[in-house]
Symmetry: C2
Subunit: 430 residues, 2 copies
Amino acid sequence: MIRFKNARIMTLAGDNPFKITEGEVWTDGDRISFVGTPTDEQLKNTQFEREICVMKNLIMPSFKNAHTHSAMTFLRSYADDLPLQKWLFDKVFPLEAKLTGEDVYWFASLANLEYLTSGITANFDMYFMLDDYVKACMDTGFRSVLCGSVSGGAERSFELEENYNKYNNTYPLISYRLGFHAEYTCERGLLENIGKLAEKYKAPVYTHNSETAKEVNDCIEKYGMTPTALFDSLGIYNYGGAGFHCVHMTEQDLDIFKNRGAYIVHNPGSNSKLASGIADIKAIKEKGIGIALGTDGPASNNALDMFREMYLMSVLNKLRENDAAACDANDVLYAATVGGAKAMGLDDCDTLEIGKQADLIILDLKQPNMQPINNIAKNIVYSGSKSNVKLTMCAGKVLYENGGFTSADAQEIYKNVQKHAERIQSEVSG
Amino acid sequence: MIRFKNARIMTLAGDNPFKITEGEVWTDGDRISFVGTPTDEQLKNTQFEREICVMKNLIMPSFKNAHTHSAMTFLRSYADDLPLQKWLFDKVFPLEAKLTGEDVYWFASLANLEYLTSGITANFDMYFMLDDYVKACMDTGFRSVLCGSVSGGAERSFELEENYNKYNNTYPLISYRLGFHAEYTCERGLLENIGKLAEKYKAPVYTHNSETAKEVNDCIEKYGMTPTALFDSLGIYNYGGAGFHCVHMTEQDLDIFKNRGAYIVHNPGSNSKLASGIADIKAIKEKGIGIALGTDGPASNNALDMFREMYLMSVLNKLRENDAAACDANDVLYAATVGGAKAMGLDDCDTLEIGKQADLIILDLKQPNMQPINNIAKNIVYSGSKSNVKLTMCAGKVLYENGGFTSADAQEIYKNVQKHAERIQSEVSG
């Protein structure tokens, strides 16, 4: 058991999720075993393998990154400040075509380290070469929900179903959700088959949805309806799921999400950097739709930093609504933690309560940007930084502490990432 | 002399300011004495008091925060997510009315620490109780350009002139520029007197300008012209200067800035959080107007973090222009460093060249968010973080290194900030 003592605690549970109490958090294996102030009796009867004095800093649930493409780290800062189509077709796709499984292993390992530095312990990852990706997560000790990413013709649904059965209930820390790339990269037959899979497994489905105005307009031209309406007509959202981005949604689209219990995964960094627009968080919240936050991949963000996403979510929506009171910091913090866990189906990774997974972080409040302490939740969202992340624990294991990684050799990963990224670049230019 | 060796160097000087070379930087007293690869002869003939191995990390000029109100740290997270007028009149003004000089000393000291953690070595600060503020900067070793902040009636120009003569050429690291709060808080007689002071001292003038649409519309209603046109009609910008914010500018306003050689200080964090709008950086750049970056005060941002401002400057303008190619990262990095130094009149604090002030930082490239190294300048703007700031040097003195402060007792400052902030809050509520 590990004992975190002398802590400020924000459980994110119950009716007052942002309330700060003082006390202790204990973990036993991969679970939380105690939250509160222990009696002398309890302390006397408990053996700890480690005691960590939190020094009145904050212990809280870790962040959940509800949409990303981890292995795209190799494209970071390779092709920025280009028009969207040129970036995608001239830069991203040609390099991605050269990827090997070993590349994906190193590139995803780098991303996992970056998540940990930002207090993220789980991601919802959409990419390919899954065996290599899973190995990267296993080696880092990082929790990941794989998202189906099929595209193309109807027959690709077999691969999706195969992966669904292969990667669920097989690896610790790994699960798999039905999903596909996007409406504009899938034939109708594939979408129909995915609707059938949703019904067969009574499972939620996840996909890029309404990221750009062009995507929505093209879909309306092709099918006479929006992507969301199309998916719903095929039963794809019958058991919930989520849309990634959801920047250009109609009121009818939002009603579908509400009725199906689907989540909206907001990606403000990527939507800004690629000039896609600002999702209408006010309308989404008013409908009562669940909201999660994601970084999207490092080619389009370019950081994997939940503090950045939280700040952007709030201030972009203040700009959008022309109202400094819009998009309260508390809603943002909830989306980045509990909202993400729920959207990803990680129902026992959301709060600090006994029996939940020990996925938690310590934030250093004794840095200038977190002082004075007027309101800790607002400090986190509005002035917090990844530099405040003192410790990141996933499934009861400390993976990051005081700037160092316990489960990975960072220098080795950097060296290999650089080598493999340069090889891909030379293959394309050569 | 201090020797930084085994470094990647970005000087920000010359025709290729973002070029990376490998070599050394030496400082002698408060100045840079060498940049490049030394000969054995040079090394043999030089005595160093300290040698710092940069380990192939990046040494570059420090950031300059061209608009802030440092002492407002006490209002951080005290009153967020409120409509602008309610925030200002019900929260900010009543608490500010209770400020003592000692309060300002502690609150500004906290801000100075925060600047250092973000690689900022100089700010352009607009506030009051200047003796206490200057003492905070002297104690921290932080460079500051004080900005006149008068408002009210014509007679206040005496105070401005008095301060101009009192604080210039008196304290090391401190200078003072003519300035006033804003059009909407100054009577016409005061603005006229400030125009006369600009002429008398042949000096640039600085002020809040066109931050909100309401400010501009009210000015047009009152004077029949925009704030910029009004200032120009009174000779206020005859020797240059700058406008802080400049969110709502006409083409004619921009022509005035161009013709007068005045700078635009962009504050994307504050302009977003207060829902003021997005300044038209594309038009400003096309006019050839100099651009600097500022955090604004911690009550309206709420962080004092140049990495946040840089990212926001770029992505907000991509959103504004609906163009992922808008607002190139290189322009952003230039504004945050050289642009700021020039706008503030710190002409010898802008680049890494022999004879310039030794105001510099080391950025740790061996963290996940800076890998791989495809393009360092873009890494800094798009995935960089204050967590990458390894060392901050101002005027040849190392003030921040590996997370610790050399010139200040941070815990003592946090304790006093909390105590003084709580006293003010209790005075207002009590």
